[in-house]
Amino acid sequence: MLRSFSFKHSLPLTRVCSKSRAHSTLPSVSSSLGTLPTTQSPVVSKLSFFNSVTGDGSKIPTYRVLDGLGVPVEGAEVPEISEQFARRLYEKMQLLPTLDNILYNVQRQGKISFYMTSYGEEAAVIGSAAALADDDEVLAQYRESGVLLWRGFTIDSIMAQCFGNHEDTSGKGRQMPVHFGSKQHHFHTISSPLATQIPQAAGVGFALKRDPARSSKNIACVFFGEGAASEGDFHAGMLLASTLPTPTLFLARNNGFAISTPSSQQFYGDSLSARGPGYGIDTVRVDGNDVLAVMNAVTDARRRCLESGRAVMVEMMTYRVGHHSTSDDSFAYRGRQEVENKKKIDNPITRFRLFMESRGWWNETEEEELKSRLKQDVLKAFKRAETLKKADLKELFTDVYAEEPWNIKEQREELAGLLKKYGQVWEPWRDELKSFKDEGKKLLD
């Protein structure tokens, strides 16, 4: 069953593949100077080095639809979106900074341990999410909670994860804030070690290809930062998805920084886009602050990915407006003015609002209404999450293995014994126990 299915799909795949090879800038005619045993590389007599994928040494271009004032640039194709869809895009883009403002401050007050904002990258993330199918498998880095919001992950679920309370369906309070995950939303759980999700996405794509119910329907989509793309895992993932091949879409968020390290110290070449062709991957660079350009690019990238069953890459050029995280003060390594300028001159939310206004789809009153409604929603969820207890203490020992081996069983029982002995007399433990839903009482269940 599976065998015949994969054979069937390998036909269109070869066709697309040879088509894209024909676009190559290298001449494909055979030369009079002879041939080589393992390649069709034409033999030449003139020594010539190259160091550019554009052929003429110029930078890889960036695709854009809207200019900074929300006006379509000459020749650009504005995607056909309805007013309703545009409003949904805009609302989700606005929800991100609303959440960020409140959660950033909540962290500052010491109520949650950590937070990372999406400031400046709202268009890149929401635009991508809007161009994907809601059941495409997403493997994200950490600054892509917008994908979850787009797919209907609730504000309460966001809060529960950040507070690590017993309603945290992402990871039972085990992981740091912003490490979301939801099987229902086809969003694999975030892992702090960078780039590990990238080769995994090649495996996810392979599984989708082998599943008759999803092979022509879904792709794997992996997000990562330009910093993470320096890890070996990035190269491994690109190579696997391109060679095996697997329908995996690589969405690079190039926001200019990896903590304090500017992208100029991250790589010397023409950033991430230049790497795609090295792996034989269809690649495009897009203005990541232009939500419509992102949508167009990701829509087409997804189509290619699905049709060819191969890797495709989109590099989204954006700017990390916020600090790296609540543990970082970015003014130690970049100027305040630089950030202020970027915020003003190139705000992805403003750009799209101007476009909506030009269509008569949006106005000042609606803006005010939206902002205050979103703020109320977020505040309400925050106040609720704040009062909830952590999961049961017994969850410390569950899910390590599918079953419980002797050592973990003994350790769980040992802790239960210790709590019985000291749990009420040792104050730090007594206080801490109260924060768990079971107050430690279910450890022996």
Binding site: K172, S327, Q411, R412
Partner: protein
């Protein structure tokens, strides 16, 4: 470029005495940007109140085992030397500055280190020694380790930083298959003794799965590597300078919760503290308590609880055990560890409790327990006991009940004494 090069030819102590006052201002005025801020609940109180920290100049200069870099016999040890108050990250910075000043081949590199590093350990070094010697690398741990190995194979001093010990695993292949075996596989022709890999380790109270781990145990089988974990600023400076100059590759793991919370008067001159030597911090005769890094302070607290329990705990501590003399040993070098010191102590006390943050299974404690059981079998009056993290990942909201704290250590001591 020229200035730091010239300066680097000066003896270490001259350079450091002259440079430091200026540097210390710079550190204090730069905005704090640690990836791990101080915990909301404040620093671990057992560190703040520890008697193990040397907070006077006199006690600092009397640190056991200190070997001064300048061998000036005329300089009376206590009389002639200065100390300055430093926390652990400042002590790292001080050691790096001396290493860079003394050794022209020394370079310091890693992710985000040029602006000072996410834990502030390299503050001002790029400005002082130039970007050619103190630089950011692209974000690749396997690359950082491999690059350092190559540099060291050419006889240079390579001081690499892996941003968190949790992120050392992409470099595992380079460290275990390459660094550890470099000398052996080349029949002694090549060596990479100049490689030191610094990395922040252990839990901080809010790090969760991937900012809390103690991966030293994973390297125990990598013969050829050394592993060092300091407990305090004075120790850190001396051990780091030893690690940098040691003719073997060394992984130097810095307990990150101590970066700010552990403060001592640190001698300004260059000095080393020998590797592979444990240190007895509190002498005793009834039980050996062996640990390293952050839990040193929890062990100290546990001993205090045992000897003078607060009223709430008193009923649980048999009066006959309260006068027990517990010997506290800081292992300091985890590989190769100071077998002789540990076995000598256990043969005297007849009881051993080992404390580490990493999980029990596959932890360093198991290795030590096996060796001690072999060498002191007939002397032991209780099984060797390990008080460790449980065999589970470091879950964020559960940390207080996962990491070995003073109560769990106290209980382990009581159980072992009354076995």
């Amino acid at each position: 470029m020229l200035a730091p090069r010239l300066r680097s030819r000066l003896p270490a102590f001259v350079s450091s005495v002259r440079d430091h006052p200026k540097q210390s201002c710079r550190w204090q005025t730069t905005a704090s940007t640690a990836v791990e801020p101080p915990p909301a609940s404040g620093h671990s109180s057992s560190v703040a109140s520890s008697k193990l920290l040397r907070i006077t100049r006199e006690s600092a200069l009397r640190t056991p085992g200190i070997v001064w870099a300048d061998e000036e016999p005329v300089r009376n040890i206590v009389g002639g030397r200065e100390t300055r108050k430093m926390n652990l990250y400042q002590a790292v910075r001080d050691a790096l500055s001396i290493a860079l000043a003394k050794d022209d081949t020394a370079v310091v590199f890693g992710e985000d280190i040029a602006f000072g590093g996410v834990f502030r350990c390299t503050m001002g070094l790029a400005e002082e020694f130039g970007r050619e010697r103190v630089f950011n690398t692209p974000l690749t741990e396997q690359g950082i380790a491999g690059f350092g190995i190559g540099l060291a194979s050419m006889g240079h001093t390579a001081i690499a930083e892996i941003q968190f010990a949790d992120y050392i695993f992409p470099a595992f292949d380079q460290l275990v298959n390459e660094a550890a075996k470099f000398r052996y596989r080349s029949g002694g022709n090549f060596s990479i003794g100049g490689l030191t890999v610094r990395t922040p380790t252990m839990a901080v109270g809010h790090g969760g799965l991937y900012h809390s781990q103690s991966p030293e145990g994973f390297f125990m089988g990598a013969a050829g590597l050394k592993i060092v974990i300091p407990r305090s600023p004075i120790q850190c400076k001396g051990l780091l300078l030893s690690a940098i100059r040691d003719p073997n590759p060394v992984i130097f793991m810095e307990p990150k919760i101590l970066y700010r919370s552990a403060v001592e008067q640190v001698p300004i001159d260059g000095y080393t503290i020998p590797l592979s030597r444990a240190e007895t911090l509190i002498p005793g005769s009834d039980l050996t308590l062996l640990t390293w890094g952050t839990p040193v302070y929890h062990c100290e607290s546990a001993i205090q609880l045992l000897n003078s329990p607060p009223p709430s705990l008193a009923p649980l501590i048999p009066p006959s055990l309260r006068s027990a003399k517990v010997e506290l040993i800081d292992l300091r070098t985890i590989l190769p560890w100071d077998m002789e010191a540990v076995v000598e102590s256990v043969r005297r006390t007849k009881r051993l409790v080992i404390v580490h943050e990493a999980g029990m299974t596959g932890g360093v404690g198991g290795e030590i327990a096996a060796e001690v059981s072999k060498r002191a079998f007939l002397r032991l009056e209780a099984p060797v006991r390990r008080i460790t993290g449980w065999d589970v990942p470091a879950a964020l909201q559960f940390e207080k009940f996962n990491m070995p704290d003073e109560i769990r250590i106290l209980d382990g001591i009581i159980e072992t004494l009354s076995y």
